[in-house]
């Protein structure tokens, strides 16, 4: 009885129901100052907890890829590069935020500036270009997927999908040689068909979200403890 109270009801009451209601009513009743202050404080706590989760994520990456390297699994070299890159990215800001007094050795202001420049350099010249390259690659995978459509599904919907894609793409080109009418069809597809479809989809998703959230509130859904 006591065990169930501690394991089941106390987490539910203090970590789900009360914070949930405070945050919900904090948004619904913005005029009540103490409630909105309490809401903001709880949202801040959530952000702090999520920062700790990042530390867990970091350790997880080290654990998984460290094991790959130790056991010389296929692709272990890439794991090694990943771990080294991660440490290289992580160490300069960590030194900076720790006050740059590592193992009792004070670090000069020049070194401070160098560490700040290094992390900014890594961000500007490694992370951002790599992200942009992957985003560019995405365009090719989307086109490839469209070309492969008949492999995944051979039906009338696939034909409609492909024809719509072609019309919308052609309609986006500023033609001046008699194909201007495609622009009107493109606009109609986007403004009427696509918008109506997306709204219907989002309304369905919103209902699903409400029902699932309510299941969490009434303890029917417990991703955090024994079921």
């Amino acid at each position: 009885m006591m065990g169930r109270l501690i394991r089941h009801w106390i987490p539910f009451l203090f970590f789900i129901l009360i914070p949930g209601l405070v945050v919900l009513f904090g948004y619904l009743m913005p005029g009540i100052a103490p409630l909105t202050e309490l809401r903001d404080m709880m949202v801040e706590w959530a952000v702090i907890i999520s920062a700790f989760a990042f530390l867990l994520g970091l350790l997880n990456v080290l654990q998984v890829h460290g094991r790959h390297i130790r056991r010389r699994r296929s692709g272990w070299f890439y794991s090694l590069i990943l771990v080294l890159a991660m440490l290289l990215t992580w160490i300069p800001p960590a030194f900076q935020s720790l006050g740059l007094d590592f193992l009792g050795i004070p670090v000069s202001s020049e070194a401070q500036a160098m560490l700040a420049t290094t992390s900014q350099w890594i961000f500007d010249y490694v992370i951002t270009p790599l992200g942009a390259s992957l985003a560019a690659l995405l365009a090719f995978t989307l086109v490839l997927a469209a070309l492969r459509i008949f492999r995944a599904r051979l039906n009338a919907w696939a034909v409609i999908f492909l024809v719509t894609v072609v019309v919308v793409l052609l309609g986006s080109i500023p033609f001046t040689t008699g194909l201007e009418w495609l622009t009107g069809i493109r606009s109609w597809i986007i403004d009427v068909l696509s918008t109506a479809g997306i709204r219907g989809l989002l309304l369905g998703v919103a209902l699903g979200v409400i029902v699932t959230a309510l299941r969490v509130f009434i303890v029917s859904e417990q991703p955090y403890s024994e079921s």
């Binding site: 990042f54 992957l134 995405l138 490839l144 999908f161």
Partner: protein, 248 residues
């Protein structure tokens, strides 16, 4: 104050319908659910993974437990819970990738509990759940690499994704491993529709619990969704007609 009244009315309505349906379902026997191929095929893929000595890759996306995608992530965790039980029973543990570290301990706990329920806790390996990258494109690239692994027999993409999910799907197609998906955003749906046959779209993701377990609590939630949808459709139609005739 109108916002508050509307929210309380909606929540009360959902609670009343849900509680009524749970009580009703306990007395009745079976309720039919429209089969969704993405979830139906998941159990088949779990048994196939066991036969071939591999495992299913479950990509949970970039949703977190505190942002706007929190509920989508919780719905994705339902699928993971049902799949973990199957996979542990077949001795084919899944590889789970997450793009937000708040999902990491929850996913690890779900897998651990599946082992605990089968009395095989000594075989649990926390490294089966992997944090890949916090940025959506970086996550998709990393998860795509996992999807192309030698021991992966199928990939399930479920949770909060955008168009970058195409990178994971492309990896599955290139390595000829079956891919299943359940996503809610229009960008992810349009990216996956041409690439994947077994695709659960939009609200179908929230039907996963009912599809995979058939438990009363999930069935009640599903029927509540349907009832609310009917009410919403009728309201939209009535308001449209009223506006057309100048009554509203």
């Amino acid at each position: 104050m109108n916002l508050l009244a509307g929210a309380i009315l909606l929540l009360s309505l959902v609670t009343l319908i849900g509680v009524y349906l749970i009580l009703r379902l306990r007395k009745k026997t079976q309720t039919a659910v429209r089969p969704i191929s993405a979830f139906q095929d998941l159990k088949v893929q779990a048994s196939y993974a066991a036969e071939s000595g591999g495992g299913i890759h479950v990509a949970l996306g970039n949703g977190s437990l505190y942002g706007e995608d929190a509920i989508t992530s919780i719905a994705a965790l339902q699928v993971l819970e049902a799949l973990s039980d199957e996979a542990v029973a077949y001795n084919a543990p899944p590889i789970i990738t997450v793009g937000d570290p708040t999902l990491l301990p929850i996913a690890q706990d779900i897998l651990r509990r599946a082992y605990e329920r089968k009395g095989q806790l000594e075989f649990y390996n926390a490294g089966q759940v992997r944090f890949v990258a916090p940025s959506p494109v970086g996550y998709a690239a990393g998860a795509g690499d996992v999807a192309s692994g030698e021991t992966v027999t199928a990939t399930m993409m479920i949770g909060a994704f955008a168009q970058e999910v195409s990178l994971i799907a492309d990896s599955s197609v290139r390595y000829n491993t079956p891919a299943l998906a359940a996503v809610t955003t229009p960008t992810a749906i349009s990216a996956l529709y041409p690439a994947i046959e077994k695709l659960a779209q939009g609200e179908e993701l929230y039907a996963a619990g009912a599809q995979l377990t058939g438990e009363d609590r999930y069935m009640a939630g599903l029927i509540t969704q349907d009832v609310l949808r009917f009410i919403l459709v009728l309201t939209i139609l009535a308001l449209s007609i009223a506006t057309y005739w100048g009554i509203w």
